[in-house]
Subunit: 363 residues, 2 copies
């Protein structure tokens, strides 16, 4: 825990005297709060963490979660009401010169309140320090993501059987979520996508009461959240016999993903991976059909911020970054194919964490 | 849809020329975006909605979700990259005098970006306008919450049977989530709490690998999300024979909830309901054991903001507000009891939406 806090400060050019994380209400809870506390349980709405350059930590938490909070090695203050919360905050922060805040994680209204509470303090944005620290995973984080990846891998293997038992998209989603939890996921990392037929051409479609038909694409995109860390996998099947265009779409996406896998290693720019994948798909017969980025960082958040594989990412990949690689082809009215796997960047390549059923499967 | 937008403006004292909603990334997506668009599907990261006093709406959405967006009656612009997004935003907003923003929903960094894009504009905080508009539900919203309530009611009835089949807390959570989705929930509204024994004394404990023992409290707190609207229910059972203290705890909580039900009606202050419940529990043998508020507004968010039943809530209850009523008693080391139901405020009382198994049940 101390190491993580020191790592955050090491990325901060402005060297604030302390960093304040303040959680508003769900769902706007800062992942950074859990990054520094390593707390596996709890919500911690209306709570604060104060980080110091030497790695020390103060916590101000509500009575509601005091039992959980005491698992953290920190100076912990328990408040009963807003007034007490503010007194503790003033007491902890005192008369410091510069307060670091994550401007991406704090609402404008909370910023105004803090500015009013500490009128003599300077504020500096430490969002990049958090992002940079979290982009490179430590051993514990990689182990948790690996466990989340094993869960989705197991679930993928069940999908062919499940598809013979369900009728509607929403039923498939419920089975996927159920198997994830039965296999140890705390919850689904995000709303499971299980789209049939032409709905698969909408990358962010979730699921509805559409029945499965022979020849339909079946696109499943889901993730397991295990002790707050996420996996994220997508597989696209065809129910019944695949048409020649369906086969071609799947082959191009799979080849595109393999091209990304071959390119990824420490030292390569995120956008170079994306451009390679983008150009490959664009030079196929599916020009203009790849309409999102090639991948995103994975961790406490499903889209963990910072580094990514997209056209605008100047970030250079580094060892122990964890990313998804998810090329896709979408044809409105016909359907879409996406194949997504989770990887860890290594010095000379990568480690692929999710592996089940990557090849095309007619079910 | 137009009515909702007009309603938001009607609550705004500053009368901005327009209101801008800008969604950053998940999970920081504005519920207000879905309140005004009524979109049931999609994520809409990095998208914007511009609201006008006459009820009209502009949408700027990414290519990724263009198919879904076209379900909305709005002037829709589809962008391919950040540069295009910003041009569309500048084009739509133009040279207006005052831009309304939800300061509670916009990050400080996004505020700074918008301020830079529109250096001559004034900004005004419309967070209360959104909150006030959303606090009073329209017919369509109440119907969706009722459907979400029916789902959890059905699931509660299954818990006694399920408890004889499961061993661990996480298994119970997986069964609850599964039945919610099988009964039509799009997903769990929040991470299901299924705590056994002494873990039930931590109100925000979720679930772990703790096995069920005879005489344990079993506290289940969960909600169904149906077309973006949520229900939220809590039931506390005892597995096997209840001790006399367990029976007393349950009775006091149930009585406290009934007292709240009798008090709630249009015109009553939220804090008056809470104080009544708080005093009732505090005057029992369980002094200082009720450590959270009595209830919260329910809707697109599980904690829908604005009106609440708590010590600091000066809000007056109004017809068609939807709230939870959830008194509890928590004794560290022993366990906790919470009973939570969803209600609609009526002119002369309330309508209770969740009803199953409110009475104590030894399973």
């Amino acid at each position: 825990m101390k190491e993580r806090i020191k790592k955050i400060f090491s990325f901060s050019e402005e060297k604030p005297d302390l960093i304040l994380i303040q959680n508003p209400d769900e769902p706007f809870i800062e992942h950074n709060f859990f990054y520094v506390t390593c707390l596996e349980k709890g919500i911690f709405e209306g709570c604060a963490a104060i980080l110091y350059p030497d790695g020390n930590l103060d916590l101000i938490v509500s009575e509601l979660e005091s039992q959980t909070a005491f698992n953290v090695k920190a100076d912990i203050k328990i408040y009963k009401n807003k007034h007490e919360y503010e007194s503790f905050l003033k007491e902890s922060i005192g008369m410091v010169d510069t307060i670091g805040l994550n401007y991406n994680g704090i609402s404008f209204s909370d910023f105004l309140k803090i500015q009013k509470m500490f009128p003599d303090a300077n504020f500096t944005n430490v969002s990049k320090s958090f992002m940079n620290a979290r982009a490179i995973k430590d051993e514990n984080e990689i182990n948790l993501i690996k466990k989340a990846a094993i869960i989705v891998d197991k679930v993928v293997e069940k999908i062919p059987d499940v598809l013979h038992k369900v009728t509607y998209e929403y039923e498939l989603a419920s089975e996927i979520d159920y198997y994830m939890q039965k296999n140890g996921a705390d919850k689904a990392g995000f709303e499971t996508i299980s789209s049939f037929g032409k709905n698969s051409s909408e990358p962010h479609y979730s699921h509805g009461d559409v029945p499965l038909k022979s020849g339909d694409f079946v696109l499943c995109d889901f993730g397991a959240c295990f002790k707050r860390y996420n996996s994220d996998i997508t597989r696209t099947f065809v129910f019944g016999k695949a048409s020649s265009v369906q086969k071609k779409m799947h082959k191009v996406v799979l080849d595109a993903q393999n091209i990304a896998f071959q390119k990824i290693k420490s030292g390569v720019k995120g956008k170079d991976v994306h451009n390679l994948v983008y150009d490959f798909i664009n030079n196929s017969e599916f020009k203009n059909c790849f309409i999102h980025s090639t991948g995103h960082s994975l961790g406490l958040a499903v889209h963990d911020g910072g580094v990514g594989l997209n056209a605008e990412s100047d970030n250079v990949l580094e060892e122990n970054m964890v990313l998804t690689v998810e090329p896709g082809i979408y044809i409105p009215g016909l359907g879409g194919v996406r194949i997504e796997d989770d990887i860890v960047v290594k010095k000379d390549g990568l480690e692929i964490l999710t592996k089940s059923c990557r090849d095309f499967i007619e079910i």
